[in-house]
């Protein structure tokens, strides 16, 4: 089957691979680039577990063709922490008990990160809206909502 080259920046590093034509960004990240933080929960755009950021926009990587991401800046949960220093969202998810099995967590955190980047002081309704495309079957959404609000508060305190 025909292979096509893809080249993009993944969490700050230049990456290039050949992938099957028509393969998804999710498959390229997981199987070719070794970033397994985005998860495949449905492969049909309904669960949000595969959520990543492409050029600052949220994208479902299971519905994004890898070959359309050439030259893009791609960010995933695997690249959020600064070495051992966690991103405020990661810390908040830990503190607020916002994960059980953890399978939805990387996608949830990306959706929340996109929210905080465009709106550092969201209210509850903003958070609910922001994670409305991400399914969690274990934790229940309340601890997740609280974690995102906690991270927003932590951000604004550290900024002040």
């Amino acid at each position: 089957m025909a292979k096509v080259p893809v080249q993009f920046t993944l969490n700050g590093s230049e990456r290039a691979e050949f992938v099957e034509s028509g393969s998804t960004l999710l498959a390229a990240l997981r199987d070719k680039m070794g970033d397994t933080s985005p998860k495949g929960g449905c492969l049909q755009g309904t669960c949000g577990a595969c959520t990543v950021m492409v050029d600052g926009e949220l994208r479902l990587s299971c519905l994004t063709l890898a070959e359309t991401c050439n030259d893009a800046q791609i960010r995933t949960t695997a690249g959020l922490a600064n070495g051992e220093v966690l991103h405020p969202l990661q810390r908040a998810f830990e503190d607020a008990f916002a994960a059980q099995c953890g399978f939805c967590t990387p996608g949830m955190i990306m959706a929340a990160a996109a929210l905080l980047e465009r709106n550092p002081n969201p209210d509850r309704a903003d958070v609910v809206e922001a994670i409305s495309g991400n399914v969690c079957r274990c934790t229940g959404y309340e601890p997740i909502i609280q974690a995102v609000l906690l991270a927003a508060r932590a951000n604004s305190t550290s900024a002040a």
Partner: protein, 455 residues
């Protein structure tokens, strides 16, 4: 979090150190950094993808299978049918002597539910496997299907599963699990009121975010490593060993973090055929359910039908209970004979009832085999019991919480299935709940104790 310690006052004088304290989950750091390893977070050179051809019918005889077109599809490495499986007939609980074997790993002569596995196709890519699977031709003679408990138990109903010979499981004790305690008929005769109600539920899918699956690699030492998200590692190991006629030491099962299970990952549905595929091809194999398969094919919680008849006195005591329960196993046993058995023991609920008669049937229908799910055999029963309890209280004009105090089991009470009650705390829980919920009950209930009976 507020923790009430007064009930332990006699036992514990020291303060609790761990209980009541929040502690982070041990695996949380991996979750938030995306580093937790799930079974599918690995890939191997030469990995083959397995796609299952499934029955489109609820019940049909297989007249023939033609894989010739599928074999020619580009990228196809191997096609597996029933004759490739060393011990095709199995049942999970045979490990604890709950037989008979009643299910084929890959269908042979018949399919008994819509979604049953028939032919496994292995190809270089998931897409090629899917395309080739669509080219497998199975010639079916469609048979009449039984799609509800009621239909299954009609005298002239088609037989769902010949290995049972009847549409319900035959226990060593007879056609159902029975509990008999006191004399229910006598109890009904003395009751002031009788209430008979029926309750039913549909199947419920667990819908874990991570679908069921495994990846198997053949090792240089002749063993097979199986990375799986099973919730039942030893059921999987031992059943795979039986199905593949392979000693257990050849099978290295590797578990890990499960991306949600809720009981939906205790059946042995992916590993044996994936290990067989790795053996027959000498290559690593990945068999991962699509979202559609997870929703349609993985076993749900059983549908149930429960008929409860209670005799109750004007003063609030339940004096007799009779339950007829039917658990829909679907086409195969899996864990359902056990679920129905558990339900039988559970139907008196957390109440002390002197006269009890319970019959719990495990029924076969041409529906998706049901199996474990959080408290299976018990949860739907609890729904029925507690709705019934509210109705009983209403019938005699009593507050539903006070009614529960009157009937609550206490230490020393003999339960209907002959387990003496020990360490009961229902009364104390209800006392706390009454305060927290602002649902006051009479003073005499607030003075009750699980450890003694007043008067």
């Amino acid at each position: 979090m507020k923790l009430s310690k007064s009930y332990f006052a006699d036992e514990r004088t020291d303060d609790f150190v761990e209980i009541g304290q929040p502690r982070p989950r041990s695996d949380i750091r991996g979750h938030v950094t995306g580093r937790t390893a799930y079974f599918a977070d690995r890939t191997f050179p030469g990995l083959l993808h397995l796609k299952m051809v499934r029955s489109p019918h609820h019940h049909a005889r297989i007249r023939g299978i033609d894989t010739s077109e599928a074999e020619k599809h580009p990228g196809v490495a191997r096609i597996i049918t029933a004759k490739d499986v060393p011990q095709n007939l199995y049942t999970i609980l045979i490990l604890i002597q709950v037989g008979p074997e009643d299910e084929h790993v890959l269908a042979e002569d018949k399919v008994r539910w819509k979604g049953e596995a028939v032919v496994a196709v292995l190809a270089e890519t998931a897409r090629a496997a899917e395309e080739a699977a669509a080219k497998v031709k199975v010639d079916y003679e469609v048979l009449p299907a039984v799609l509800s408990i009621e239909e299954a138990l009609k005298p002239d109903a088609p037989i769902v599963n010949e290995h049972h010979g009847r549409n319900y499981y035959l226990y060593d004790s007879g056609e159902c699990r029975k509990v008999r305690f006191g004399d229910a008929e006598k109890g009904f005769a003395q009751a002031d009121h009788i209430l008979e109600e029926s309750y039913s539920s549909g199947p419920i899918e667990h819908a874990p975010l991570e679908t069921s699956g495994c990846i198997v690699t053949p090792e240089a030492n002749g063993r097979f490593t199986c990375y799986t998200n099973t919730q039942a590692m030893f059921f999987t190991l031992d059943n795979a060993s039986i199905i593949l006629q392979m000693p257990g030491h050849k099978l290295h099962m590797v578990g890990g973090t499960v991306g949600g299970g809720f009981g939906g990952k205790v059946d042995v549905t992916v590993e044996p055929v994936a290990i067989l595929a790795a053996k027959l091809t000498g290559r690593p194999v990945s068999f991962i359910y699509s979202r559609e398969e997870e929703m349609q094919v993985s076993s749900p919680r059983a549908a149930e039908k429960i008929v409860i008849k209670d005799g109750v006195m004007k003063d609030g005591r339940i004096v007799a209970r009779q339950v007829m329960a039917y658990i829909d196993a679907g086409a195969y046993s899996r864990h359902s004979p056990y679920g129905a058995q558990k339900s039988a023991a559970h139907f008196p609920g957390p109440y002390t009832i002197p006269n009890v008669a319970i019959d719990s049937y495990c029924v076969y229908t041409n529906r998706t085999p049901s199996s474990a799910m959080r408290g299976f055999g018990v949860t739907i029963g609890d729904f029925a019991l507690e709705v019934q309890t509210d109705k009983l209280a209403r019938l005699i004009g009593m507050d539903p919480l006070e009614f529960r105090f009157i009937n609550a089991y206490r230490d020393g009470d003999m339960k209907a299935h002959r387990q003496p009650t020990e360490g009961a705390a229902l009364i104390e829980c209800m006392q706390e709940a009454s305060v927290i919920a602002g649902w006051p009950v009479d003073e005499r209930f607030m003075k009750m104790s699980s450890q003694t009976r007043e008067g």
